[in-house]
């Protein structure tokens, strides 16, 4: 009986030791994985920053102004002026959707009773 108890506790110690060891390694693996991910995030953020900087550099007002001047013939961009503001009633109504679908100008009046020529 006693030896059975000894064997059981011995096995329990071995089992627990194995479990602790296993968990430790799992934790370390998880930390290593997290670190890899963080490094990736950092790299991506860094890339994002570079791209943002590039975007800001490409969109700097000096360059846009120059581009607007170079392409003036095609685009005709000028600084925003007060006269470009308008009231809502100055906007024309969009052309009706029915326009163009049925051409009423050359229609034949069938109610008049005359024979079409």
């Amino acid at each position: 009986m006693r030896s059975l108890f000894y064997i059981a506790s011995f096995l329990a110690v071995i089992g627990l030791a194995y479990w602790a060891y296993y968990e430790n390694y799992r934790t370390q693996a998880a930390i290593a994985h997290a670190e890899t991910l963080e490094r990736e995030i950092a790299e991506n953020r860094q890339r994002l920053r570079v791209l943002n900087a590039e975007w800001a550099y490409q969109n700097r007002p000096d360059r846009l102004r120059e581009l607007a001047e170079i392409n003036f013939d095609r685009l005709g961009l000028v600084p925003l002026k007060a006269s470009q503001f308008g009231r809502i009633d100055q906007v024309p109504y969009p052309p009706s959707e029915l326009d163009g679908l049925i051409d009423l100008s050359k229609s034949v009046d069938v109610s008049s009773g005359e024979e079409p020529l």
Partner: protein, 595 residues
């Protein structure tokens, strides 16, 4: 093993036969057996000692080896869990009010040399000079062949330069990672941003520290890793800042001025939407400060904030507004502006020796009469004038969030005499920066509250200290409007927007202290728009402008600063989202004759 008997029968019998003592045989055998036992014990003890020795040696070797490894390797924090938010600790970005980048970071490399590792120092020096033409060949050769063990060659190099240096193939040339501050918009808002440099430098990293402007003012905030991912949001608007600088530069060149400054400020929140000072510089490559000459001539000098000037007649509105507030005058009170007027023994004159006669207080502002404002200021008195100007912030440097703002200490008269009262009422004898004037005009424009100019984006109007009643403020803005519609600033009319403002032309004092120049002025125009519901105040200041399109050179603000301000307003008002409006005009032939 075969145990030898102590008394072997054969030998005993033999010994007995010979008459010898058989005990001797037994003793001999015991002796032999003891010797054998002793040898065996010895061997075993020696073996144990050896094992023990090996174990101790191994243990000490392990400890020693570990200590060596620890001493040699980079220290690392022991951690139980993965790191938190600050994955990439970098200096925070600076963005404008719409989130467009004004300052960010860029990864680059520094170049350093370890001459003792060099194989062909002279060839390396030669190749380096080809890549970096600003390096001196002889200097590099002496450094590389001398006793130095380490030297920096370049603090920041581009990827192309790095590759070129790499291609030299010299093992003594090494690269360290560097983070550099990048201002993608170049010169834009240079004086606000200031610039950044390296603090403590190591091979693997270097501190980026702000050296001027908002970079220095908020250095701790920008470097704090807890805020690294949160950009610093400024009140500036990139587009409006660019338009302002562009127009101001063009205007400065047309008016032949040596410097110019402009401040555009929201009158309710105190946000500075654009602030420009010319000449400017590129914060990516900040020039070194002037060692000789007048610091105010350096491009680093911020005229809008650091430059304190006598801003001239633009101050007149404060004297009249205060008199209205105190009930001394109203807009239609008749003021006697006829000469002579002497205060403290000094005659007070008008521009071009004019005589406006008896005019209303409103006309005093519209015509810009020195004697008129002087008489009103005398009624107000020195004490009350002083308190009023102090409440408008004219006694302290502006609280703007750039490090240079502390240098904009206004110059006040040492003794506030009656003469000072009169001269200050028309803007002489008290020097302040254009930003001070903007804050003062903002108080007139927003209904009478002092707002602190700020560079940080605000979400709500400032509830500043009330310095005058809304009625007084409204009357002041009406007078300012009349200055533009029928007074000295008639070139300030902008189609679609009603502009109010006051010009100021002040002679520049001689630096040696001997009075004023005859032909050098500071021309200022302080504008408020739209004047029927003021939202913004714009100050334009030109240093030594002269307009030469007419028969004789014209230097007054009405001819120089006002057209520039009008152009700036015409450009930025649509960008600010202000809807153009035709204000109900006062017809010129209907005038109020009596009240």
């Amino acid at each position: 093993m075969i145990r030898t008997p102590l008394r072997p029968l054969a030998r005993i019998l033999e010994a007995r036969g010979k008459g010898e003592n058989p005990d001797a045989i037994e003793r001999e055998n015991i002796r032999l057996r003891h010797e054998e036992m002793r040898d065996r014990d010895r061997r075993r003890a020696e073996g144990r000692l050896l094992v023990l020795g090996v174990m101790f040696f191994a243990a000490f070797a392990l400890i020693g080896g570990r200590m060596g490894v620890l001493a040699h390797s980079e220290p690392a924090e022991p951690r139980a869990s993965a790191a938190g938010a600050d994955i990439l600790a970098q200096r925070a970005d600076i963005v404008d009010r719409n989130g467009r980048i004004l300052a960010t970071n860029f990864d680059t490399h520094s170049l350093y040399a370890q001459p003792q590792m060099m194989i062909e120092p002279e060839r390396a020096a030669e190749a380096l000079v080809k890549i970096f033409p600003d390096l001196k060949h002889e200097r590099l050769v002496t450094d590389f062949t001398g006793k130095r063990k380490f030297l920096w060659i370049k603090k920041k190099i581009s990827p192309e330069q790095k590759q070129a240096v790499h291609d030299i193939g010299e093992p003594g040339l090494l690269f360290g990672p560097r983070e550099m501050r990048l201002y993608p918009n170049g010169r834009l808002a240079a004086h606000v941003l200031g610039g950044a440099g390296f603090g403590r430098e190591g091979v693997h990293a270097a501190e980026v520290i702000g050296v001027a402007g908002i970079e220095k003012f908020y250095d701790t905030r920008l470097r704090d890793p807890a805020h690294g991912h949160k950009p610093l949001e400024l009140s500036l608007d990139l587009t409006i800042q660019a338009a302002t600088e562009r127009v101001l530069l063009g205007g400065m060149n047309i008016m032949n001025a040596k410097g110019a400054a402009a401040v555009l400020m929201d009158v309710h929140t105190g946000e500075v939407i654009s602030i420009a000072s010319l000449p400017d510089f590129d914060p990516n490559d900040r020039p070194s400060p002037l060692l000789t000459g007048y610091a105010g001539d350096s491009p680093l000098f911020n005229r809008a904030v650091q430059g304190v000037y006598e801003l001239g007649s633009a101050f007149k509105i404060f004297a009249v507004a205060q008199a209205i507030e105190l009930g001394i005058v109203n807009e239609n009170t008749i003021i006697d502006t006829t000469p002579p007027m002497r205060v403290g023994g000094f005659p007070i004159g008008e521009f071009n020796r004019k005589n406006y006669g008896l005019i209303t207080a409103s006309e005093v502002i519209v015509q810009s009469s020195n004697r008129g404002t002087g008489r009103i200021a005398l009624e107000v008195g020195a004490k009350r004038q002083k308190d009023f100007l102090e409440s408008l912030g004219f006694f302290e440097p502006t609280p703007l969030e750039i490090i240079e703002a502390q240098g904009g200490q206004p110059l006040l008269p040492p003794r506030w005499t009656d003469l000072s009262t009169v001269t200050i009422s028309y803007g002489h004898g008290l020097s302040s920066s254009p930003l001070h004037l903007a804050a003062g005009y903002a108080a007139l424009a927003n209904g009478g509250r002092y707002v602190k100019p700020t560079l940080l984006k605000q979400n709500a109007p400032q509830q500043g200290l009330r310095v005058m009643s809304p009625e007084t403020a409204a009357a002041s803005v009406r007078m300012l409007r009349r200055v533009v519609s029928s007074g000295t600033a008639s070139l300030g009319e902008v189609p679609g927007y009603s502009v109010g403002g006051k010009t100021g032309t002040a002679d520049k004092p001689r630096p040696s202290g001997g009075g004023y120049y005859d032909d050098k002025v500071i021309a200022t125009f302080a504008a408020v728009f739209p004047s029927n519901d003021p939202k913004y105040v714009l100050i334009v200041t030109l240093d030594e402008p002269v307009e030469t399109s007419g028969d004789e050179p014209r230097r007054t603000a009405g001819w120089t600063a006002v057209p520039i301000a009008a152009e700036i307003i015409a450009r930025v008002a649509p960008l600010l989202g202000l809807r153009p409006e035709i204000e109900p005009r006062n017809l010129p032939d209907i005038t109020q004759v009596a009240q």
